[in-house]
Each structure stands twice: as structure tokens, then as C-alpha cells.
């Protein structure tokens, strides 16, 4: 049987701090089911605070938490609080939140 390459998960900013305070690593490898799982589920499994996650990088591109992640992916959770002019001016911030919330209630994910 071939070895499964796990998902590499990193955590930035306040998520990094929370992990360090808990004595937990800020970069971990997790194995997900063959069909993948959502980034949100990975965050839940790691007991990250979903309320402060703004987005997730999957293979260096940002998605909402409903994005499906498969083994071998490289992901990173980014909390709110990152400098840079914002999304509401162009309606982006709410769009991101709405997508995440829709997925939470069982609607289709972004992938």
C-alpha cells in the first residue's frame, strides 16, 4: 500500500499564538479521508477558533472554509487582523463570510 502524503497545516497570527500558549505545534500534518474534507472540518478537528478565521490558503491560494482539501495539500489558516485595505469597499468581505456560512448549513462548498 502506498504511503499517504498528509495535509500540511500551518496557523498564523493569533491562531499561532493560541497554539503556542496551549503548548501545541503551529505546523501539523493531518491525514484526511480519500475524498477530502473541508478546511472547516480540519479547523474543527484542530480545535481552532472558527470565529476568528478569515480565510484559508490551500496550495497558496485563499479560499473560504468550505473549500475541499485533499491529502498532499498545503494549507494555512489566516485569522482576522491582517493589514491591508479592506474588502467591504468592494463587497468582498461579506461575500467571503456568506460563502462560509452557506457551507456551514449544508449548501454546496466552493470547490
Amino acid at each position: 500500500m502506498d504511503a499517504v502524503s498528509p495535509v500540511t497545516v500551518r496557523m498564523f497570527g493569533l491562531l499561532y499564538a493560541a497554539r503556542r500558549e496551549a503548548g501545541l505545534p503551529t505546523t501539523v500534518a493531518v491525514e484526511v479521508p480519500a475524498g477530502g474534507t473541508t478546511a472547516r472540518q480540519i479547523a474543527r478537528d484542530l480545535e481552532l477558533d472558527l470565529n476568528i478565521i478569515e480565510g484559508v490558503f490551500v496550495n497558496r491560494t485563499v479560499y473560504d472554509l468550505g473549500h475541499r482539501v485533499v491529502n498532499g495539500d498545503r494549507i494555512a489558516f489566516v485569522p482576522e487582523g491582517t493589514p491591508g485595505p479592506h474588502r467591504l469597499f468592494l463587497g468582498l468581505y461579506k461575500a467571503g463570510r456568506d460563502t462560509a456560512d452557506a457551507d456551514e448549513s449544508g449548501a454546496s462548498s466552493s470547490d
Binding site: R10, F12, G13, L14, Y16, A17, R20, T26, I52, E54, G55, F57, R60, T61, V62, Y63, D64, A76, V78, P79, E80, G81, T82, P83, G84, P85, H86, R87, L88, F89, L90, G91, L92, Y93, A95, G96, R97, D98, T99, A100, S110
Partner: protein, 591 residues
Amino acid sequence: MRHSLRVNMSDLSVVREELPAKWARYGGRALTSAIVFTEVPPQADPLGPENVLVVAPGLLGGTNTPNGGRLSIGAKSPLTGGIKESNSGGQAANALGRLGIAAVIFTGKPVDPHAYYMLTIEADGSAVLSRVDEWAGAGNYEVADAVKAMRPEGDRYSTITNGPAGEAGLKASGIAVSDMKGYPNRFAGRGGLGAVMGSKGLKAIVVSDKGVATPAHADKEAFSAAVKTFSAALREHPVSGQGLPTYGTNVLTNILNEAGGLPTRNFSEGSFEGAEATSGERQREITLERGGDVSHGCHTGCVIKCSRYWNDKDGNYVTKGPEYETIWAFGADCGVDDLDDIAELDRICGDMGLDTIEMGATIGVYMDSGAIPFGDGKAAIATLNSIFDGSEPGKVLGDGAEATGLAFNVARIPVVKHQALPAYDPRSVQGMGVTYATSTMGADHTAGYTVATNILKVGGDVDPLKPEGQVELSRNLQIATAMLDAFGLCIFVAFPILDIPEAFTAIHEMAQAHTGDTWDVDALLQLGKETLAYEKLFNDAAGMGAKDDRLPEFFKTDALPPHKVVFEVSDADLDSVYDFVPEVAKTLGIS
């Protein structure tokens, strides 16, 4: 009524002038750019007597506007050849604002080329020039100590000083501004304005505001109410209330690296294996381990408090906590992953008066020539010091990345309008590429800060790797940024004001309550447009054209790992960014 001080360095006169009525609504960058546009012949030698150096607090400077204490310094740039506003934190803007000074305008040039002067503005409003020839060649920290020794016990003052780089007329030189503890560690770094200050024989400006009250408001109650709203928004927003106070600007290193947009080894790659070692998260841990300060304001009234101090391994102060752009410049761009080496490079720049972005990019280019290896922090330190020991290649390096690249035959020279690009690769953050290409300032990350919208698009419409939508985004953000600079507001208030409607409203409410004039959202944006119109027209008259609003060719041809993308925004789209200028110029009666 605000006034200006006109300091003629040719005849050494200091004259108080009323601010022209047409500029009554201008402060900060709007005022420096309007003055430079009006007074400086576009073809003037930047280091000649026809150039002016303008120091201006924002329109709300001196008040207790939260994060309203930024300082604008303007002139024709010896680096770009165009107009320049370089923006700094520190205490000087608050002090000038309290004294009712809208601008200090330095004109002319001393008859004696070896003379050095200090302008002292006392709390009673008097201002005198004095000779300080003995400070020739002194670093900014030494000058700060010398000024401290001269001031009366218990004085409250701030300094604006020029290091040896500015004295030498180096195009990478900047101007230092003291922070709340008196360290000269805040910096108007970009564009070589230290050289302009040096050309005027000006070593220091000292501003005392001891015992001076904040300026009166047209409507005190309304002003206080708006301040309260604004302050609450800054404190509650996750960017200004949590992210920046905790990690400072360097929270961006991990994020840009993850996005593949962290320029590495002179823009040859988009991610850096040493990112985590130089990240804001790691910087905070080390700072705390060494007893350093991890959160304070860079000026009175700052509620975000993203500044910090970096201590050495023995717990002694070295420099300010290097900002993200500095850590990128001396870190990823040079392949250096040691924060102590980066801090040492920051300290040298701060003391000698060099722009850390320009110098990091310069050393990255120099490393790309093969002269010293990427990743060698100690060699980078020795190279930086060579600028001041008279040896080659120091003389070239001090004039920046383009001069260095040309001298050492480097193919990849990351500059626009002769100024080095900051810490975001325009291939992975295409909107930033639009701003880099078209900004009146040359490649400038603060001119239109598209990073969060581009990288953290979070289900949004603008793909950071694609050209669609980037021009409008960049244009709007350049206008908004110019407006914030005119008020003297920190660029980091951008996040709360775009997310919290009451915060945006509070800006024009503060302006209206303070000045008694009518302000609204449209007026705010008009202020930003007028500022950019002055700048664009000056640059056009100075000989800049569409050819100068372009990224270096390699960004269009060399695909950037890991995304393997090139910059794709078309020239026609770039040329449309400033299409609002003719109409605004017409309303201003300028051309």
C-alpha cells in the same frame, strides 16, 4: 488659523505666512504636493536652490484625532525625478499641529556649502536657525543626544534629523523623526529626501510644544463625539484592535510567503524558506524573551500601537522593531533569515539615514551580481557600512537599486520611476503591480494598499493572479490613501473605515467639527483626487510619461514560482488609472 513658516536657507530668514485660502482644506500630503507643484519648476535640480522641502502635519495634526499624527515631507525627489511625499510617524506632526503650523517650507541653499543648520521652533511660536557645524557627519542617534543635551530640563520636543547619507546627497537617503521616547527611529524614508534636506544645509529641526494646548475646534462637542466613534472603531476592528497591536506589520511575512507573493532573492522567487524565522509571530516571541517592547504608538494619539522595539541578546535597545517591509528587504529579498542581522541593518540605516526598502532591494541586486552571496547577513552588513567608509562599491550602493544594478550589470532591477519595489511581488499581487507602476511616487506600497483585498479575497471578485478589476481597485485605493495622508491619518485606519461605516463617517465629522467647514464623503474623496492631480501634473511637466508607468520587463516575461505567473495588466489599462485627473485639474484651475 493655521500658518506656515518659510525658511530661506539662502539668506537664513524665517518668515511666518498665512496659509493661502485656497489651501485651507489641505494638510499633510495634499499641502506638500500643492506647494511643490506651485513653487518648484518641474525641471529643477532636486538638490539645487529651486527645490523646496516641505514638512507638513495633516489637517487634523495636533488634535487628539486617533492615529492622526502622521507627518508628510515633500519635495522634488532626487531618486525619482518626480514629486515626492514621504510619510512618517513620530512626534513632530503633533507638535507642529499644536503650534498651528500647517507647513514649514525650506527654500534656497546656503551660500556656505559646509554650513549645517538647526531650525528650532519654540513653544511660543518663535523660530530661529542656528549653526551646528560640529554635527557634520553625525548619525541620527548622536544628533538626538546632542539636541537632548541642549534642551531645558522637562522640555517636551520632537526632532526631525538628517544623517550622513543625506549630507552626502545619496539618492537612498531619508529623514528621521523622533518617537515618543526621543529615539530617531521613525522615518520618511522613500525618495531620497534626506539628500534634499542635506542640500539645504539642514541637519535638524526641533519643535517644542511644551505646555501648548491642542488647537481649538469649531464645534468641540461634535469633535469629541466623532473622536469617540473613531477610536472605538479602531479598537474594535480585528486588524487595528488585534492583529497589528499583537504582531505589528510583520504579521504579513507568513501570509505573503504563503501566497507566493514574498519577493525572494531579488524577485527571483515568490516564497522564502526563512519566512517563519523572520515572521511577525517569531519576532514577537524573541522580542518578549529579550524584554523588549512589543506594542506602543509611534505618535501621540495612536490607539493601534503597532510599533515595537528590538533588543539585542543582552536586552539592550538596538532599533525599532523592524517593520514588515524592512524585514522583507533585508530578509527574504537578500535570502537572510536572521532577525538580529536584519535589525542591525535596520539600525545602520536608521542612524545613517538610509531608506531600508531601497537599501534592502539594493543589496539584493548587489547579491544577484554575485559580488556577495545571497543569505549572508554579515556580508550585507559589511556592504551597507561600505557606503560610509569611502570604498567601492559604497558610493554606488547609496544611490539605490537601479544605480547598483546598472553598475554591476544585473539583469533584474526591480524599480519603477527609479525607486525600488517594496515587499509584494506584482506577479502574485497584480493590483499592487498596478499601483507600483502608476503611482506618482514611484514604486510605493503605501500609495494604494491592495494587499488584503488581493490576497485575502475570501470568495471575492478580484483574483490576485489575474488582471481583471485591478485598475479600478488600485485607482480607488490610491485616491483613498492620498486622502488619509492629507489628514495625517495612519494608513492602518483604512481597515476600520472600510469595514465600519461609522468610522468613515467619523473622519468627515472630525474634519467638519474641527474646521467649521462642510465635509462629507464626496469631499474626502475629492481631496484625494486633488492631491493626486497635483502630483500627476507635476510629474508630466517634469518629463514623465506613460513609459514611466510601467513595471520592469522581467515581471512580464519571468514567471514567478510557485504560481508561475507573470504580470498581465495591459499598458492600456495602466494608462487609464489616472483618467480622472484632467477633470479635477480643470476644477482646480491648474494644468
